[in-house]
């Protein structure tokens, strides 16, 4: 056996390798567990990889590249696709000239997310083909297949992953891949690309025609596989659920779906007809169950208790037995905490002391909700801290309204806080408002990624930098302060106390690097200084 073409890889690493092999010209995204390492690896392998401020922008940049004829990939976690949903639905109408692969990494069980939404619904709702790999080998192979499908039908394609596909390592056999196609060039196609109603109506018809063709193709595609001759029990499954099912019931017949939208219903129907008992094994929402039921295919689904959390071998065994007795609750491990010395600690100590009503946001700092701080009252989605804080200020009685503070991390602020700040200037509450931007110089939560406020690219090279205090002042916000929370905790407390008294708008930026990032930041800054003083290719 040749070891060099066999590698032990995570799904994310395998996808990055496939992207390189297919000559993907641009990879864009916004960090989010469990998707983050795809672009990081792609960048390390020499691909052009970029973090965008958020998923919507990332999607649009990749879409532009695909309009130009390039092969483009955009990566995000499941909730990222909510942010990017607007361009998604209409990009399905316009289609692309090159290839556009949308990687959606779902998190059933919420290992590191605020919900466990099932993004298979997006493929159906937007009308784009969807592929679901079941291990790293398929993550590699399906990336290639998805790019081929996208290019052949000129349609965006979704690669739908889950945490266990992204982060599990399994063996991958690498192969020779096609490499880049012709170079991008602009071809004018006004009716195909400008979605005014007159052009969008026929575009919608074109989309449905493409999907019908793809559906017919998928009926005999090798992406879907049928195993076993056993006729008493048959399992229909896809993605990670396949490997759990195969282990729980190794001898039964299986229909493993690789392309789960548009579904090959005739193929599924003929399988179901060959077995006495047919069971659908799927993680999350009853997506396959509902689609098969609508098509009049006879089968059994799972009890509602298995809709929550991840599946595993034990749970599949229970589903097959029809056993829906309550499951034992595993002992609780130790919850994560803010690191000792984390600059966020001081901020939450002060918010706690001042008895603020804290409209919170998502990042490491969400841990400010746990003891000993218990200084967060809401957390919904990225950027919501500002809007929700304003809504509270508008509606609460004066004595409560004046205690409301919106707290947002630096990466989150750039992601979706800027429009909130504009709202604050445009519709200021009578009590004024206070926004705190916790600037720790990194996207810590997802593993220390750069963002537009750090002034460094995904690969840590110097680039343009967004300065929050300048931005806030340019918007006309009266009080803008920058404070180091570790050096000047007293100053921070006084400034916040004062701001809460005023009926004005205040932005307080607490600036101090995350202790895990601090050393690296110094290193990157040194490299940048070196670059400025030489004329190598890295110079900016």
């Amino acid at each position: 056996m040749n070891q060099t073409d066999r590698k032990l890889l995570s799904g994310n690493e395998a996808i990055a390798l496939a992207m390189c092999g297919c000559g993907v010209g641009l990879g864009t995204g916004y960090p989010g567990t469990p998707s983050t390492e795809i672009l990081e690896n792609f960048g390390e392998l020499g691909g052009k990889a970029q973090w965008s401020p958020n998923e919507k922008v990332a999607f649009e940049v990749a879409l532009g590249a695909a309009y130009a004829g390039a092969r483009a990939v955009v990566t995000m976690k499941h909730v990222g696709l909510n942010v990017a949903a607007d361009p998604l639905f209409t990009a399905a109408y316009t289609g692309v000239s090159g290839a556009l692969l949308i990687v959606s990494a779902d998190d059933p069980g919420m290992a590191s997310s605020q919900n466990e939404q099932d993004n298979r619904h997006y493929a159906v709702a937007a009308g784009i083909p969807m592929l679901e790999p079941s291990d790293s080998q398929e993550a590699y192979d399906f990336t290639v297949a998805a790019i081929e499908i996208s290019e052949r039908w000129r349609i965006p394609v979704m690669l739908r992953l889950t945490t266990r596909i992204c982060h599990s390592k399994t063996i991958v056999r690498l192969r020779e891949l096609p490499g880049p196609k012709e170079s991008p060039t602009f071809v004018r196609d006004i009716q195909g690309r400008v979605m005014i109603p007159a052009y969008a109506r026929p575009a919608h018809h074109r989309l449905r025609d493409k999907l019908a063709e793809i559906n017919a193709w998928n009926e005999s595609s090798t992406l879907n596989q049928r195993f076993g001759e056993e006729s008493t029990l048959g399992i229909i499954t896809s993605g990670i659920s396949y490997v759990h099912a195969k282990e729980a019931a190794p001898t039964v017949s299986m229909l493993k779906l690789g392309m789960t939208y548009p579904l090959p219903l005739d193929f599924i129907r003929s399988f179901a007809a060959c077995v006495d008992r047919c069971v659908v094994i799927e993680e999350g929402d009853p997506y396959l169950v509902d689609s098969l039921r609508a098509a009049g295919i006879g089968f059994e689904g799972k009890s509602n208790i298995f809709r929550f959390g991840e599946l595993n071998v034990g749970r599949v065994r229970k589903i097959l037995k029809g056993d829906d007795t309550p499951e034992p609750v595993p002992p609780r491990g130790k919850p994560p905490q803010l690191c000792m010395g984390c600059p966020h600690r001081t901020v939450f100590e002060i918010l706690h002391k001042l008895d603020c009503i804290v409209s919170g946001d998502i990042g490491c700092y969400t841990l400010g909700v746990l003891p000993p701080f218990e200084a967060m009252d809401t957390c919904v989605c990225m950027g919501a801290s500002i809007g929700v804080g304003l809504g509270l200020r508008h509606s609460l009685p004066f004595e409560q309204a004046r205690r409301v503070v919106s707290v947002i991390g630096d990466s989150t602020f750039v992601h979706s806080g800027i429009t909130g700040l504009v709202e604050m200037v445009y519709n200021p509450p009578e009590t004024g408002h206070v926004v705190m931007i916790l600037d720790n110089g990194t996207t810590a939560m997802t593993g220390l990624q750069e963002h537009p406020g750090t002034g460094r690219t995904l690969g840590h090279r110097q680039t343009g930098k967004v300065i929050y205090e300048d931005l806030a002042k340019a918007l006309g916000i009266q009080n803008v302060h920058v404070i180091d929370p570790s050096r000047d905790a007293e100053g921070l407390k006084t400034t916040l106390t004062d701001a809460l008294q005023r009926k004005e708008l205040t932005v307080i930026i607490t600036r101090r690097p995350c202790i895990l990032a601090a050393k690296k930041i110094i290193q990157y800054e040194k490299e940048a200084m070196h670059c400025e003083s030489c004329s190598c290719e890295h110079a900016v």
Binding site: H167, I171, E247, G314, G333, C339
Partner: protein
């Protein structure tokens, strides 16, 4: 041939090198020619919470997750995480925990994860050269020496 799959769970706290240990283990078994799958939940591990990683290997592995109560080996790097994870171990399974190592003999306390892998290695049919190669390719060069020593220390520790 019977497809026997060996299930190992490595557990501890964020920052203790749980994931590094499972990387080394899965790399070593991969080099020894087994099919292997490794799975874990990460994302919040840098903030000191419980972390655990599953490594399964054999002729052919399907699910990447060790079914509850079917671990053959439970390697726990933080003593206070033993009870939280004990339900993962099968009845005949082997628990490998920090108290099997005399911590004073460790040159670098951070290499406790590798010392425990040394103990685990005595139960597994994987040549020492594969372990060494795996350590080499998963750790920076300046740490090779101390980790080879620590691994050997674990491999030769008295545990009965």
């Amino acid at each position: 041939m019977k497809n026997q799959v060996i299930n190992v769970i490595i557990a501890g706290l964020g920052g203790q090198g749980v994931l590094k240990a499972s990387d080394i283990l899965s790399d070593a078994v991969f080099r020894a020619g087994y099919d292997v799958k490794k799975s874990e939940i990460h994302g919040m591990s840098q903030r000191g919470g419980s972390v655990c990683s599953d490594v399964r290997f054999g002729k052919k592995v399907l699910s990447p997750m060790v079914p509850v109560g079917e671990a053959d080996f439970l390697v726990v790097i933080a003593e206070d995480q033993v009870e939280v994870n004990r339900h993962q171990l099968r009845q005949s399974g082997v628990l490998i925990e920090p108290k099997l190592i005399d911590l004073k003999t460790l040159k670098n306390q951070k290499s406790l994860n590798v010392a425990l892998l040394g103990i685990l290695s005595r139960y597994l049919d994987i040549g020492e050269e594969h372990w060494k190669e795996a350590i080499r390719s998963n750790l920076p060069e300046k740490l090779h020496g101390v980790n080879f020593d620590t691994f050997t220390l674990g491999r030769s520790a008295k545990t009965d």
